[in-house]
């Protein structure tokens, strides 16, 4: 056995996609009747009739102006009399209150502030612009997919973890790969990192072990891999083929978001332009052959973890999405042919309401961009569906049990924001990949929210909250400012080459750190409420034996394969890379001949060169 306890998740993966292995009986709401009732009785305090026809163009105002004026007068008096008196007696704790992204929070928001709002910006659940959620019935029809990210050690280790998670009620798999695999190297590459931050994979043989006994026509799988994503997807297809599952039946997601790699996660092989070309090849292939697959998960997670604010996370991620759509359109693809399969991935950090607003604002922006900028006609092209993961970066090494509480609050925000799929982090992840016990608590957290808290029973319950609607509008406004700035720079690829998002993120990360050190930002257990009594926790350790096993298997695979066939296939990969042909078919052929992940990546390095980033900070 190569490890002591269990896995870890550190970044995460992907979204959407229904799962069959769900935990169903508990909650299967009947659709039509109840949905209609929900529409009549919106969870919207202080608001009378909901607009009936969202498609009707610019409605004037939501509220009677007299009512608003009366409220405004009341508020002015209240500010003068009550608030000012109260402040004189007891000053506010801070001179100014803002969200974590720096959006000012007024003393009070009321009906009067809603005058600016346009009803068509909110719409109805499942209708443009999807502020209230991508489906009309949301969790009343189907709960979000509980998808726990896992991967460590050998493929056998991770296969066992997958089976454990399935037995405990996860409804989708999510695979973490180790650093060598993410950077396009085999297990025999210089040492130290094999199997450490994810599962070690070099050849199709490893994939066969990884998914052994897991029916790929029944389970949807997410794979968090980017620079070498094309190899991983081809290996997955090849394993499915061996199981007798055809391409069109495969459901799942491959992260495959190279732009955010250059922006934040920093695992790459070749530079931005060839990297994006490979992404577009994969989108094009999946559009033609894999109707249930999400060929890219446009990810804010890593951008946020690297230090971005919620506004920056949302804006840079949507800008990445725009970048991919532009490149696909340039390739000659019809927007409605591929856009419905694009998916997203958000981080969920601590600022509860701002995080909820982020989900809502992002859906609204994406819907408008797809419709107005790209002329999408199919509603599914405009509908932002997302995976979410609680914020690893918010967890603390100090008093690690507090992390359970942080994660629970973040997970609740993701659900109130309307996520389609969720990963909850484990309490021990500031130290290592999570143990089985820690992962179980993380999964139970989702199950508690789903089955006990009652939030699954209502669609978009915070709609109409003055504060949440205000934040949603502010997020949209500030996000669009970034998107315009990036457009002016010549688009996101250009902006990434100029290190614009990278610098913005580093700036935010440094500001955050200074706030913590000055005590302006409290982190419980770190700069306040410290304790020497840190309960010890068990940790998962990955043995060096993993690397030896992997190198051995790699040698065996290489010894047993048809070398001529491998070299011929790799030559076809190279020819496609140098030309304009789609890379998927030759890479698929190569991995089926047991060419390694490193060998295919070497072809890319040979054709386009290894990308390097300078040491700016």
């Amino acid at each position: 056995m190569a490890f002591k306890r269990t896995s870890k998740a550190k970044k995460a993966a992907r979204p959407v996609a229904g799962s069959r292995a769900a935990a169903p009986e508990v909650k299967k709401k009947v659709p039509a009747r109840k949905a209609a009732a929900a529409r009549k009785a919106p969870a919207t305090p202080g608001r009378k009739a909901a607009p009936a026809k969202p498609s009707r163009a610019p409605a004037a105002r939501s509220y009677a102006p007299e009512a608003a004026r009366a409220v405004a007068k009341d508020v002015a008096r209240w500010m003068r009399e009550d608030v000012d008196r109260s402040k004189a007696k007891m000053p506010l704790r801070k001179a100014e209150f803002t969200t974590d992204s720096g959006i000012p929070i007024p003393d009070l928001l009321t009906l009067a502030d809603r005058q600016k709002e346009r009803p068509e910006d909110m719409g109805l659940p499942g209708q443009f612009p999807y502020t209230r959620g991508p489906q009309s019935t949301m969790y009343r029809a189907r709960l979000w997919t509980m998808r726990q990210f896992a991967g460590f050690g050998t493929p056998q280790d991770t296969n066992a973890r997958f089976k454990y998670l399935l037995s405990q009620g996860v409804t989708g798999l999510s695979t973490a790969f180790d650093m060598p695999a993410l950077m396009g190297y085999d297990a025999d590459h210089p040492p130290g990192e094999v199997g450490k931050e994810g599962v070690a994979i070099s050849t199709l043989k490893d994939f066969e072990i990884l998914f052994d006994g897991i029916p790929l026509d029944k389970v949807t799988t997410s794979m968090t891999i980017n620079a070498s994503a094309i190899v991983a997807l081809c290996m997955y297809i090849a394993v499915a083929d061996k199981q007798g599952v055809p391409l069109e039946k495969l459901g799942g997601t491959i992260q495959n978001d190279m732009l955010k790699e250059f922006i934040a996660q920093k695992e790459w092989i070749v530079g931005p332009r060839p990297a994006v070309r490979i992404v577009v090849d994969m989108i094009e292939f999946c559009q033609a052959h894999m109707p249930r697959w999400h060929p890219v998960s446009i990810s804010g997670y890593h951008i946020r973890e690297a230090g971005a604010t919620a506004v920056q996370e949302m804006a840079f991620t949507l800008a990445d999405g725009i970048g991919y759509v532009e490149e696909c359109v340039k390739r000659g693809m019809n927007v409605d042919d591929f856009a419905p399969r694009l998916s997203f991935f958000w981080d969920v950090h601590n600022d509860f309401f701002e995080e909820i607003a982020k989900f809502r604002a992002a859906r609204r922006i994406w819907a408008k961009v797809m419709k107005e900028r790209f002329g999408a006609k199919d509603p599914r092209s405009m509908m932002l569906r997302t995976h979410a993961q609680t914020a690893g970066v918010s967890l603390t090494a100090q008093q690690p049990y507090n992390n359970v509480v942080r994660t629970a609050m973040q997970a609740l925000a993701a659900v109130l924001g309307g996520t389609q799929s969720l990963h909850t982090n484990s309490l021990d992840e500031t130290y290592a990949l999570p143990t089985e016990d820690a992962v179980t608590i993380a999964l139970r957290t989702q199950q508690l929210i789903a089955y006990e808290s009652g939030v699954d029973r209502v669609v978009d319950p915070l709609a109409g909250s003055y504060y949440v609607e205000h934040l949603t509008d502010e997020m949209e406004k500030r996000g669009m400012e970034y998107i315009h700035r990036i457009d002016e720079m010549g688009g996101i690829i250009r902006a990434v080459e100029e290190q614009y998002p990278q610098k913005e993120i580093a700036e935010s990360a440094y500001r955050f750190q200074r706030e913590v050190e000055k005590g302006e930002r409290i982190i419980v257990g770190v700069n306040a409420f410290k304790s020497d009594r840190n309960a010890p926790i068990d940790l998962l350790k990955i043995d060096e034996q993993v690397a030896h096993e992997q190198v051995e298997r790699l040698k065996q695979v290489k010894a047993g394969r048809n070398e001529k066939a491998v070299q011929a296939a790799l030559a076809r990969v190279e020819a496609a890379a140098r030309g304009t042909g789609n890379l998927m078919p030759p890479v698929l052929e190569a991995v089926k001949a047991y060419a390694t992940l490193g060998e295919v990546s070497d072809v890319f390095r040979k054709v386009w060169g290894q990308y390097r980033e300078g040491g700016t900070f």
Binding site: M183, V526, F617
Partner: protein
């Protein structure tokens, strides 16, 4: 002004791309008046040692999140010695379990800063323990 500024190489060894910590430390040390050289990502021990010697630094600070610290720290220390630069001090930080810290110190790492350390702690430690090399 007889004194030159302390020169510190902030290094990010291995394939792991998590560079938020390394960049924050680099900025904080610079703001504290040191000369800071940051290697950028994905450095091998050999690249780090070459940079340290070339830049004539007083200390190397390595940021490791990948779990590969028991491999990468000793490799850098060994190479520094081999190339006659054993007096360049080595410190580091990242995701490093408590149990491994005494072992790393025995191997020649001067100090390890774990999550929650403030940049000011690190600045203070450097001023107290790192001297300009002769």
């Amino acid at each position: 002004m007889a004194e030159r500024k302390l020169r510190i190489l902030v290094a990010k060894p291995g394939l792991d791309g998590h560079d938020r910590g390394a960049k924050i430390i680099a900025r904080a040390l610079r703001d504290a008046g040191m000369e800071v050289i940051y290697t950028g990502l994905h450095q091998t021990p050999d690249m780090i040692v070459s940079a340290a010697i070339q830049e004539d630094v007083d200390a190397v600070g390595m940021s490791i999140m990948s779990g590969a610290h028991m491999t990468l720290f000793p490799a850098v220390i060994e190479l520094l010695k081999q190339r006659g630069a054993g007096d360049i001090r080595v410190f580091g930080g990242g995701i490093i379990p408590d149990d491994d810290i005494p072992r790393l110190k025995k191997l020649g790492v001067d100090e390890i800063f774990t999550p929650g350390s403030s940049t000011q702690d690190i600045v203070k430690w450097i001023h107290a323990h790192i001297e300009e090399r002769a």
